[in-house]
Symmetry: C2
Subunit: 222 residues, 2 copies
């Protein structure tokens, strides 16, 4: 539990991760690619959102995605339907992506040929929060079926993301979810977070978030 | 990533955890208390299920609960409404409960006075799978909003649980969730798992699971 050697070794791994993430970030900046990572609980709708986003951005932008999972290539198969280049990172028992995995997965790709690179993390609201992947923007997704209290119960993750995306809003009439209370909880742990609400099922809110991300690439490159 | 010292130290922590868990299990057996742990993604309905279960079992059984979270005492406050003894374990940044935390949380309690002890883990479908808490029974909850593929994507957790509980079945008419496909996925990773389906909101399935758990205490003590 409070095993000091584990804490020490974990700190070293984090330091090592930060060094690689810094290199990645510089590489992404030089290549002119805007990198967005997605984190959430399992089943919050990351892959469905990503499939929709890749499809929506593709007419105008060159997009690609890396997707992390413990097991299966299901997500890569689903995302391939968008026709965008997609690569699966299978982590085995590891509960999060690390910068070295991103670096290694990108070896055969020329990121200079991309406008957007999306990185979908393992579904986990805890461990991925500590690992910088060199991304420009981190989105945390929270579905309206999960309860308003999650920002307070997983504060590290909600603090480590610049954007909070409330997903599955089409289910609002069927679940006792108080959007106002959830947003107040988001503000308590991360007052600067930008919040979007959307439903991939009925399409509402997706174009607004895509437009906003596109505007951010222009800011990043200015 | 493949930092060998981290793997080695983690292995030692697991070994140490197993020793404490073995002691706990013996202590629980001697005390005649049946211990059930709950794991799931954040927002699958562990606390709501537990509140209902504590209330349902209480007329006949002496019940208590330990609840793990990174932050907040919200769950303990919610569960206290059941009038059962409840204690919160706040883990800080740690993504799972360990046997030593359970041991320490139980110091002031006489488990010999209990028939059932429930342990609600941190919401996380990855990391808690490796940590034995000395429980008799581990339940993994999966809500029908999370998708049928979760048993395949988080196989370690679904293998490490004897019981799979499909929750929020009242939402089935509003989500595209194929129960048959999900059960087939459960069987692929854990053919021996017992599956229950329930909705705390409309009450269906909860008495059946409570009755079954009660029958298991009799088996364990026989």
């Amino acid at each position: 539990m409070s095993e000091p050697r584990l804490v020490e070794v974990r700190r070293n791994v984090l330091k090592q991760n930060d060094v690689i993430a810094r290199d990645l970030r510089e590489q992404f900046r030089n290549a002119g690619v805007f990198v967005v990572s997605l984190v959430s609980s399992p089943g919050s709708g990351k892959t469905t959102f990503l499939e929709k986003t890749l499809t929506q951005l593709q007419p105008q932008y060159r997009v690609a995605a890396l997707v992390g999972d413990l097991a299966t290539e299901n997500d890569a198969v689903r995302l391939a339907r968008s026709k965008a280049p997609v690569k699966q990172i299978t982590t085995g028992t590891l509960c999060h992506l690390e910068a070295a995995m991103v670096e290694s997965a990108l070896k055969e790709w020329d990121v200079g040929q991309l406008d957007f690179l999306f990185i979908e993390n393992v579904g986990n609201l805890v461990c991925p929060s500590a690992y910088d992947l060199g991304e420009d923007l981190r989105l945390v997704l929270l579905s309206v079926t999960e309860g308003e209290d999650k920002p307070l119960k997983y504060p590290h993750m909600f603090r480590a993301a610049a954007v909070v995306v409330l997903t599955k809003t089409d289910l609002l009439p069927h679940v006792g979810f108080d959007v106002g209370e959830c947003l107040a909880n988001v503000r308590r742990v991360n007052p600067a977070a930008r919040v979007f609400q959307l439903s991939v099922r009925n399409g509402s809110g997706v174009p607004e978030l895509c437009d906003w991300m596109a505007s951010q690439t222009r800011v990043a490159r200015a």
